[in-house]
Symmetry: C2
Amino acid sequence: MTRAPQKRRLETRARLQEVAATIVQEQGYSGLRVEDVVARAGVAKGTLFSHFKDKDGLLAVLIGDEVMRLLDGMEAGDPPQDADELTARLAPHLDYVGQDRVIFDLLLRYSGTTAAEPDEVVTASFIRQVTLLTRWLQVLQTAGQIRQDQPPELLAEGIQAFLNHVLGVWFCMEHDDETPPARALAPYLQAWLQPAP
Amino acid sequence: MTRAPQKRRLETRARLQEVAATIVQEQGYSGLRVEDVVARAGVAKGTLFSHFKDKDGLLAVLIGDEVMRLLDGMEAGDPPQDADELTARLAPHLDYVGQDRVIFDLLLRYSGTTAAEPDEVVTASFIRQVTLLTRWLQVLQTAGQIRQDQPPELLAEGIQAFLNHVLGVWFCMEHDDETPPARALAPYLQAWLQPAP
DNA sequence: AATCAAAAATGACCGCGGTCAATTATAAAA
DNA sequence: TTTTATAATTGACCGCGGTCATTTTTGATT
């Protein structure tokens, strides 16, 4: 029987997470260094790794939280009325992930974990995202706005695939003036959701 | 005006690449260590990085070569007659990439580079793959086997997206007895290519 | 208050990728 | 042959993530 964590431990973990979030805000995700986190939190390096499996584990919490916040925004208001509106709703998520390759890599690494490690925030955020998408698609199917020959779950996973695709392409070029991921997404979703009578 | 490379240099590079390929064959891609490569090749560590930008640069050559070999096999014979046959033709590629996360990560990192660095083998392999897919899709469209309302280029890119999607999911679980990527791909392609009259 | 076992934290140490000023080999010019 | 510019190689060094045997702290028990 494992004992409940002591107060000190919870405080330490919270401090580590706060400090990490601050550094990310100052330097971005790519600028995050474990040594900086522990230095500013006033703990030893080993302590961080007793709270988080590895650096990715820490990032997963930070990013998971952020995705949850984005989902709050996405969920507010009525469901999208048609495919174009749905595409537009995904723009904030694309903008967020598109800002730093670190986010993309991490989400990809956790993106199929829907079963294992369900206690992780990032996993919960994934489940929530796919659930929300599925609900939206169901509504659009009922309204006759999109194809009805496929289950909404499959359509939702397909959208995830296209999201990652446009992001992958986005990170492969020096994105100076190129088409942002949000714009690149449209033709795929149009073709994917188009009604097939 | 940059001079032509000396014979010595070409030999060194070839040796490094051979040694690396051997180690990969023995230990797999994840087992490749730069220090091992230079030790067995009898050169200093710095030499490797004067021949390849970084470890990924070396991997890109090894993996690019392998993908080219796979494409040779794919291109042999007649183009697929229908969507299912096309799906089956992609299985060897999925099996190869699915064997090691290192391959997946690397290909993803280069997967949109179709424009920049066209001299890299891995980039050439990408162009070749998408070209081949496009050609096949065009044939299938003409034969009325798949949807004709979208350009074959878009359909080809969509297939890439689904390939990466099923691979991503594949790497996210302890793949003991789960459905292999090749089987997971079918429903997506079926829905993606289905004729829309 | 003294004792003790589990929890929490520590920091020296390691693995491994990548850098760069210094050194050596090469081939063309004098 | 000697000189000289540049191509090629070297290896000590660094950054950074991650480990683990050891030490310190904590809260319950006597």
